[in-house]
């Protein structure tokens, strides 16, 4: 298992953003669903080693991120796209991706190829020399994804990766996810349940800091047979699980 989480908790003052989550994930695409404030981003940030947990167990890629040495080793094999990624507006797309390749300690001899491959995979090859400040929101998002995958991560964490992408790009991105999921554990946090349905083998639904459903997209869809709101079966399943939890 690349991700092993037991009783993971994160508090912000008196608020429990993540309240005792247990989760395991191996290679493949893993969808993390939930309403606003469910704790998805906090969970993802802890999995990305950006934020330490308040309590509980967390093992990533077979290592404990609580210690500096193993954490650094995890980070070499980690990719992360935050919900609101920042960028240096004066950098070109290629420089931006190269910068992260260098920070992720990609071997220097491989950097040029790795950067070109990452940019091509998000279909920004013709924009590699374009400065980030001139890119559209969707293109910036794709540049963000490129930096996340430049080190060919074994654990890829994507927070709302399809926000701002046009329908055509979303379809292409789902294909990319499936491709990445063949070798790595890809955790995708999203509100767009159709992305999960199309790309994820496993899905977890969070609400109020807890995982209230863990299974396959089909399993989630099956929970929505009771006439709950939603245009698609999985949306109806999503609503049904939340309604059931909150009742």
């Amino acid at each position: 298992m690349n991700v092993e989480i037991t009783g993971l908790t994160r508090r912000f003052g008196t608020v429990k953003a993540v309240a005792g989550v247990d989760l395991q994930a191996g290679p493949g695409v893993f969808g993390l669903l939930g309403p606003n404030g469910a704790g998805k981003t906090s969970l993802l940030r802890m999995m990305a080693t950006a934020m330490p947990p308040s309590s509980g167990g967390l093992r990533l890629l077979g290592r404990d991120p609580g210690s500096y040495g193993p954490r650094r080793e995890i980070r070499r094999r980690l990719g992360y796209l935050p919900q609101n990624p920042g960028y240096y507006p004066g950098f070109t797309v290629a420089e931006y991706v190269e910068y992260f390749a260098l920070l992720k300690e990609v071997p220097p001899a491989r950097i040029r190829v790795a950067v070109a491959a990452a940019i091509d995979r998000v279909e920004l090859g013709d924009r590699r020399k374009t400065r980030l400040r001139t890119l559209s929101g969707g293109m910036l998002r794709r540049a963000g994804i490129a930096q996340a995958i430049v080190n060919e991560p074994e654990l890829l964490l994507l927070d709302e990766p399809t926000a701002g992408l046009d329908p055509e790009q979303r379809v292409a991105f789902r294909a990319l996810l499936r491709d990445l999921g063949q070798r790595a554990t890809v955790v995708v946090s999203t509100h767009l349940v159709e992305d999960v349905a199309a790309a994820c083998a496993q899905v977890a639904l969070m609400d109020r800091g807890r995982i209230v459903f863990h299974g396959t997209p089909d399993g989630l869809a099956a929970r929505g047979d009771g006439g709950h709101s939603g245009d698609t079966p999985i949306e109806r399943g999503y609503s049904a699980v939340l309604a059931q939890t909150r009742s």
Partner: protein, 504 residues
Amino acid sequence: MTAATIAPAASRLLRLELRHNAMAWLLPVVIGLFWLTTYRKDMAMPPMWNLRAAGLQSGAVLDFAVPVTGAAAWMASREVRHRVTDQVTITARPRWARLLAPWVATTIWAMVAYLGCVAVLYGVTAHQASWGGPLWWPAVVAAASLPAFSALGFVLGTFLPSRFTAPLAAIAAFFLLALSTELIHGSQSAWQISPIVTGPWDLGPQAGVAVFYPFAPDLCIAQMTFLVGVTVALLGVPALPAGSAGRAVRLAAACLTGAALLAAGTAVGLAGTGTMDAHGMIDIPALHDAADDQPLRFTPVCSDTTIPVCLNPAYAGFLPATTDALAPLLNQLAGLPGAPDRILQVGVTYQQDTGNGVIIRQDGPRSGATPSTAHLVFPEQLPEPSMTADQMASQLAESFAPDLVARVIGNGRGTSQAQNAVARALLTAAGLPDVVDRTASTGTGRSDGPGGADASGQPDVAPGTPAYAAAERFAALPASARHAWLVQHLAALRAGRITPAQIP
């Protein structure tokens, strides 16, 4: 990562940072400031390496400190401003190493600009200076201040990232520099460690310093130690917090920071023991090299006047004006018994007075080592920007001529009225009416000599007296007649056997 991969990765990272560093955008500001406040000021001073180097050190530190500190703080706060903290935090490269890259880039840009400025200033000086070579210590101290101020901004920007950090850090750096010199009172002040201090603060830049004696780098060594210590200590600080780097790196950073602070503190202590030596430089006993107290050997540059005027080669540019000012007098005195064979420039000695005062005296006796040599001291204030070379030479002649005349005609207690009359006539004929008029109006035979040295010897002749009339008569004679009379009667004149009435 191995050593084989660290270097190319660091090089690529640095290239990226250099392309996107705010300091590059500030270079026009820095270069403009350097031109306005340092280059212009230095070029207005005589082309002497000591003056130009001192001006370079203090000027460049002030010009570069503000933009470098601001740019470093600005770059260090970049991750927070652009909200990339999460993205970069989760990368493998240690935070400390990641943050160091923009610091290095900022420092490199500043250093490139500084070296360019030094090259221009020293290049121009090399073309203008008549003697000596570049003084590198002051230039090195100014260079060492760049990474130190860059590190100061870097640490402030790292730990206090805000839109106010860069401007307030820049102004705080300037405030520190301005304040440091305000707190120097007399010798033995620890504030002499400030990199804009180039010598005894109460003395200011002196043309005669490091010309007759070697440049003593004591203070520069202390300043360098301080700046390097501060730089290393500041750079070590971001590596100290947990999670910034591995345990070994953090331990090394802690040791390095401690050692650097110790070095900086020691340097401050050493600067506090620095006193102004007799040659106008800071002497720090623990760092002083006795070899710096040995006079420099030089071949003076001499005029081809009847009595040659010989100057230190560093002052060669002033020889024509000096010669022009003294030649009328020298022509009258040449060949007379007691007249010197040559006039040789000598340096001065400095001594800290009470409070912030400095006493400046001629170095060695007024006469030369041999009776045939007369010693000449240049005024403290050299030509440009406040006076021309001719004005300086006139001032020099006014202070030196009465001494020289007195040496030939005789002086001291019991000087006769005839001697005074002849002396006055010689000065009048030499075109030094200011000295003569001042003597006539005050009736004193005394004025301040160069550098505050005692220069008695002005003839004491009051208007309306027989001596005054004799002086007028003698001055009106043709130069050859005056000279012939002096050759014949000088011994009697000096012996007091000539009365004013006997003067033709």
